[in-house]
Amino acid sequence: MTIPLSYYLVLSGIVFLTGVIGVLLRRNIIIILLSVELMLNATNINFVAFSQYFHDVGGQVFVFFALTVAAAEVAVGLAIIIALYRAKSTINIDEFQLLKW
């Protein structure tokens, strides 16, 4: 393999960091969920790179499971967003401070 493993790790680190900053920075709940998708994709890149590197197909199977969990997360998360929007007519997270001390 001509491309070192560390290149993939750096790429996935950049994408993961972008996702973390997006979760902390944005106020729109939908963008926050999109940032979570970014983080899941960063881990998936890692899994596939290691799977290729160690010639073990198990890593790709785990990407499959991560994909399943991502699909479940999106379905439930978007349903929660719709329920929140129905209750408050906004999806700005500054408005949801019921649990804030």
Binding site: I3, I14, L24, V48, F54, G58, I81, I82, I91
Partner: protein, 173 residues
């Protein structure tokens, strides 16, 4: 050649993921994520994970992103979304993680560790899809069933959460 492909995919993935969190309009954000998904699929192809590349496009770009766009258009939000007040904290966390990554990379160096342990399964011999199916339905059979259970629970939960209150419906009509 391989390096050129990798750097192209890596650059577009990084740029698109920055765009996802930087663009104001959620629709554009989702479109940037679509570009990123396609390029991650391309990266999978260069890593000889063709089956996952197909699944990435079908499930992520075809199902998950459509769901996002559907909700964005359903909610019809105003574009007054600004960055959060807690951006100093976000900057602190981001800088800490970034410095940590740089230090770890510098300490460990760029050399590759030893290749391949004992029980590896052949990736390229019988075809990628066959290899995955072989492992998925033998070694990982129980997690596979658990994944199907997770999907069932998510489906029921999403229906119940997004359903309107029966009392609210009654009072309306």
């Amino acid at each position: 050649m391989e390096q050129a492909f990798f750097f192209y995919f890596a650059f577009v993935i990084a740029a698109a993921s920055v765009l996802v969190i930087a663009v104001r309009n959620p629709i554009y954000s989702a479109m940037a994520l679509l570009v990123m998904f396609f390029h991650v699929a391309g990266l999978y192809v260069t890593l000889h994970a063709e089956f996952l590349a197909a699944v990435q496009i079908i499930v992520y770009a075809g199902a998950i992103l459509v769901l996002y766009l559907f909700v964005v258009m359903l909610l019809n939000m105003r574009q007054d979304d600004r960055y959060h007040r807690q951006w100093p904290m976000a900057a602190a966390v981001g800088m800490t993680l970034f410095i940590e990554a740089v230090i770890l990379t510098a300490m460990k160096g760029w050399t590759a560790p030893t290749v391949a342990t004992g029980r590896e399964t052949a990736v390229g011999e019988a075809g990628n899809t066959e290899a995955i199916g072989d492992v998925l339905y033998s070694t990982y059979l129980f997690p596979f069933e658990v994944a199907s259970l997770i999907l069932l629970v998510a489906m029921i939960g999403a229906i119940i959460l997004a359903k309107k209150d029966p009392e609210a419906v009654n009072s309306e009509g």
